[in-house]
Subunit: 259 residues, 2 copies
């Protein structure tokens, strides 16, 4: 019944939409609440891989919720350098409140073909006023997203290439685990080495060589868009990975919905 464990041998069930599984890492939801989440997910669209969902300068008209596929937030510099700022996997909201700002200061792009729910601000505020526990869970979601962002700053600022990649792989594995999309140390991994480079502030050449090191050290396997973590304990040690920042140990986690 535990939705997440750090041990790769165990894994979470995947009993429904990723959002539900994800928010239930924070608080148990009632059937009505699950239905409400499903309802706002009915209006969705597909985005082809490598296409932008939102581009810098646009104004957000909807809250996006990733139903399937991976996306990333990125910023591009005038000289063409690109930094992937964040990754979105199923169950992630892209900017619950971004529509407040006049113009996006970055872009959101699809990594794989993407299925995203388009939720209007009105639906969003109806959802949160009607279901306070969902509102609370969305708060938690946003705060965790901010914490992940901070950890990324630390990652590119202080860790070596080897540690950076190790850290990123672990984070992704655990986040997928919390939406029931990783099992036994294994998960989908659609990022190219170029994407990894842009996410870690390295070059793709160096990512390539560093991944080979991680493989040589029997820490991971990574091929055909599939990641297998072979030794999570040691991988966490070398990455100096501290799962605190994912805030998966909330006290409300095991509470049942009261209605």
């Amino acid at each position: 019944m535990t939705p997440l464990t750090l041990v790769p041998g165990k894994s979470s069930p995947s009993p429904g939409p990723a959002v539900v599984t994800k928010l239930e890492a924070y608080t148990r939801l009632s059937a009505d609440e699950r239905t409400a989440l499903a309802r706002v997910s009915r209006n969705f669209r597909f985005v082809d891989a490598r296409r932008d969902l939102i581009s810098e300068g646009e104004r957000a008209r909807h809250v996006h919720l990733v139903l399937d596929g991976w996306a990333c937030r990125y910023k591009q510099m005038p000289d063409g350098k690109r930094q992937i700022i964040a990754l979105f996997v199923p169950g992630d909201f892209c900017d619950v409140n971004a529509y407040i700002l006049k113009a996006f200061d970055h872009s959101i792009g699809a990594i794989t073909r993407l299925k995203v729910a388009m939720i209007t601000p009105e639906e969003m505020s109806a959802l949160t006023t009607e279901w306070p526990r969902i509102a609370q869970a969305l708060w938690w979601h946003e705060l965790v997203a901010a914490a992940v962002q901070r950890e990324w700053t630390l990652n590119v600022g202080q860790r070596t290439a080897y540690q950076r990649l190790a850290h990123l792989l672990i984070e992704i594995y655990l986040r997928l685990n919390s939406v029931g999309r990783s099992h036994n140390g294994r998960c989908d991994f659609p990022l190219t080495q170029n994407d990894l480079a842009d996410a870690t502030g390295l070059t793709s050449v160096h990512v390539n060589r560093t991944l080979q090191e991680l493989r040589r050290d029997a820490l991971i396997e990574l091929e055909r868009k599939q990641l297998q973590i072979r030794d999570m304990k040691r991988l966490m040690e070398v990455a100096m990975f501290n799962p605190n920042y994912l805030h998966l140990e909330h006290e409300g986690r095991h509470l049942d919905a009261s209605n």
Copy 2:
């Protein structure tokens, strides 16, 4: 009457508390709203320079609002490496909603002697329900803080040492400008070269040499905790600084409070 301009020759007035000036970059506040902000700022404390305001692992019991002095958010790794994740200057809130999470995943430390308001969650929610425009402005504040965090990830991930420092100096100058604390390209700058190193992911030795380059190129002066930007235009060019992410051009900026 414009609260901010990118031209170093101009500067904003500083008509009262930094928070008010800051939030008025987003929306004009009424006298009552200003009073409300002043009221929640009455309960403050001082923190000595170089001491922690909150340490990793603690639970936040208050929202902190910097009234005077500088602080930083930082994370430390087991090997002693430190990354400064964010800077707080007067008018900045530290984590409007952090009390939702069980434990802080980072620390907040004073850079200078610090005067911070301690606002209880209850005061906070009273403030926002009673004054919706303040609630809106706090939203904007949080979204801008998130945008700054993203820009920092880009900064350490993609820019050279020279660009990183240039970018950071500009950001600080502009943020101080929006609370009326910089004028004619000049502002306080209490960070040591060590702090700069931790904020940019460089070593203090390299920061030292790179600052010398920036001085040699007649872009800045920096001594005795005072920064003087000598050529903002050129500095922005070399840093590839795009002020978008500070979201200072909100349409509501020039609106008068309607009550």
